[in-house]
Symmetry: C2
């Protein structure tokens, strides 16, 4: 069995890096704080005798050899980057639990048939450079590396500069290599497991999404002298589009998701009619057909609003992601482990995007969810119980070892 206390202690140790006053974590991808997290993780891996390699997008792979040199590796992992005001567990749980699996194998003197690799994917959150699942997406070949290198944060720093800056632009090419399976443990980040008193979510797939960048152009003008008829207020237009996103979400019922999370106003002065507003838009739904409909409807309706406001809208679709079903065989290993351990479990579709979604395109994949308090995530108050982390980690251990020894 894995060691629940050691797992929790390492989770808390990782949470010190980028700790925020309100009990959360700010470990934005490819910052110096991220580098510190990576270094601590690397140290733990090397202490176990694992070989750590880094690829061209900064993904880290820590390898434990198996008995059979011809077997493909079984992968597990998640991400150590966080939201600007994120929690201690989103991502870190999957990486540190993978470490605990490695430690337990080491303590128990188990050598699996297949090698096992523990992955820390770069920039899962997407909050700094605008593309979530960036490291796994580059690895999977979904984002061409040159395009990803050129993405910039709001300060104008590119991904390539940031990678080089923290010394994590690795030698290994960022592309899929043959692997036998991938397992990712993650907190649910939603309310379902907690509400139903389940310890384990057997994740059967992830929902579809579409993300946009929007720019509304109006005209800077004096707030005191410019009459209503002469105004081209970019913020009034953006406000109506924000309302549209909310209405389009609600029209889809409880399965709908529509969010404007990021918004910047220019020149952002109290007595100036805003001349430009830049903002993000994203929609999600378990059914890709619904996302296709949203992606047809939204640009059209937002365009009507912009025309009515006299403030042109530029809309760029950043990515459109179909729903991703996971591999039935891998999902079954998760189910069997939960049953064997007597843990109350249910099948669930992921509301969040995860690296597993891109990995699943070339490697048989499954995910394990654990509950989180009040379904809260992307929030400093994100919280889980040590027993929940332990249960999730034990299921990960069983599934990975079963797959590696099959």
């Amino acid at each position: 069995r894995i060691d629940g206390k050691r797992l929790w202690d390492s989770l808390m140790s990782m949470a010190e890096i980028g700790a925020t006053p309100k009990g959360g974590v700010k470990r934005l991808t490819l910052t110096d704080v991220d580098r510190q997290g990576r270094e601590r993780f690397r140290g733990w891996c090397e202490a176990l005798g694992l070989t750590v390699r880094v690829d061209a997008i900064g993904n880290m792979f820590a390898r434990r050899e198996g008995r059979d040199p011809k077997r493909l590796p079984v992968l597990m992992g998640s991400h150590l980057d966080s939201q600007p005001s994120g929690g201690k567990f989103d991502g870190a749980l999957g990486v540190i639990a993978g470490l605990e699996v490695m430690r337990s194998l080491h303590d128990l003197g188990i050598q699996t048939e297949a090698p096992i690799e523990l992955v820390n994917w770069t920039d899962e959150e997407g909050s700094r450079f605008g593309h979530s699942l960036m490291g796994s997406g580059a690895w999977a070949g979904i984002y061409p590396l040159e395009k990803v290198y050129g993405l910039k944060d709001v300060e104008g720093v590119s991904v390539e500069e940031a990678l080089t800056g923290i010394g994590y632009k690795g030698e290994v090419p960022a592309k899929p290599f043959p692997a036998d399976a991938y397992f990712e443990l993650h907190i649910e980040q939603g309310p379902i497991l907690e509400k139903e008193g389940k310890q384990i979510g057997i994740v059967t797939g992830a929902q579809a999404q579409v993300w946009y960048d929007a720019v509304v152009t109006g005209q800077d003008a004096h707030a005191g002298t410019t009459p209503p008829s002469a105004r081209r207020d970019a913020l009034v237009c953006a406000a109506r589009i924000i309302d549209l996103v909310d209405r389009m979400m609600r029209a889809r019922g409880e399965d709908g998701r529509g969010t404007v999370g990021q918004l910047h106003v220019l020149p952002n002065s109290r007595n100036v009619v805003p001349g430009e507003v830049r903002f993000s838009v994203e929609f999600r739904h378990p059914d890709f057909a619904e996302i296709e409909r949203l992606a047809a409807q939204f640009p059209r309706e937002a365009g009507f609003i912009a025309r009515d406001c006299g403030t042109p809208l530029k809309l760029e679709e950043l990515f459109r992601l179909p729903a991703q079903p996971f591999d039935p065989g891998c999902v079954d290993l998760v189910r069997q482990a939960a049953v064997r351990l007597g843990l109350p479990a249910r099948e669930i579709v992921s509301g969040a995007g995860h690296d597993a979604v891109y990995v699943a395109r070339s490697v048989p994949t499954a995910m394990i969810f654990t509950p989180c308090k009040d379904g809260l995530s992307h929030n400093e108050a994100e919280s889980i119980e040590p027993g929940e982390a332990e249960a999730g980690c034990q299921v990960l251990f069983e599934a990975v070892v079963a797959r590696a020894n099959r």
Copy 2:
């Protein structure tokens, strides 16, 4: 007569300080760029033999003695600070034209009966610390100095720190001193004079306004997992209030003004439902009764929206300013000057706030407007003709000298 070329050259020289790539000016109050503007202005004044004093809020007074030591000074001036992306003339015209009046008096060897003082008021724009007309307001006793010193910009720098930082926290107390009159030349910042082909606006007063700070509190949550029913999205609420402000403005017809110019989202991440939004709101109208009605209606209706959204709203009224009529005698001096010079002129009410509004509470005051291209201001493209600056300056000269020699 004043020297139009010298006036224009000095305007262009001042516009070099904080010049922006798009032809505008960024000379935010109490920054180092503002300090450079103040130093250049001080140098010009001292070269004329004027005595420059600085008061406790950084207002600068450049004095030219009159013949009669018992006469109260005639004041003229405006402001050298600008919007974050402002134009070359908003404020600077009145200060540099006042300098040209001083230079012309000097060249012509005229000593007026009353002394004349040229003022550069601190922080007229209000865009950095949230209170427009700050320097004149502190001088007029409308904002208690201790309260003004404590105001902070978005980076947390206080007015007092910023004043000390640029060496402009002066010795002279910031309070009204006896003065005979105040004249301020300014660009109209609106479309009326240009549309009617008038060279001079005889400003009879300024409209009423009310300003607010608003904070909407929601809950940070994951954009992918949080169902519509569980969302408390602060930005959706703010968007509906922005729309309300626009509708309340339009309900007042072409005289209405309602603007949300500044807005910040927290945590401002693409895949996080916003947990907090902070924004400014302001309304203006020529009729104070209308502002009183807006100030009763807006908090109530915004409160309803916030309640519907489940996201509490904190609304702080920053100031409420009645309409300010100017002094009939001073206004008449402006009218007479325009007539004498044969300049097409009309009476006009100021849409913008001006330092003259506060000065008028203790000193007989009038203002002179000149047209600006397309009525555009608080915009880097703000533009006037040299001939327009010259005509306005000539009217200022005549009015000030007439008053000082009466």
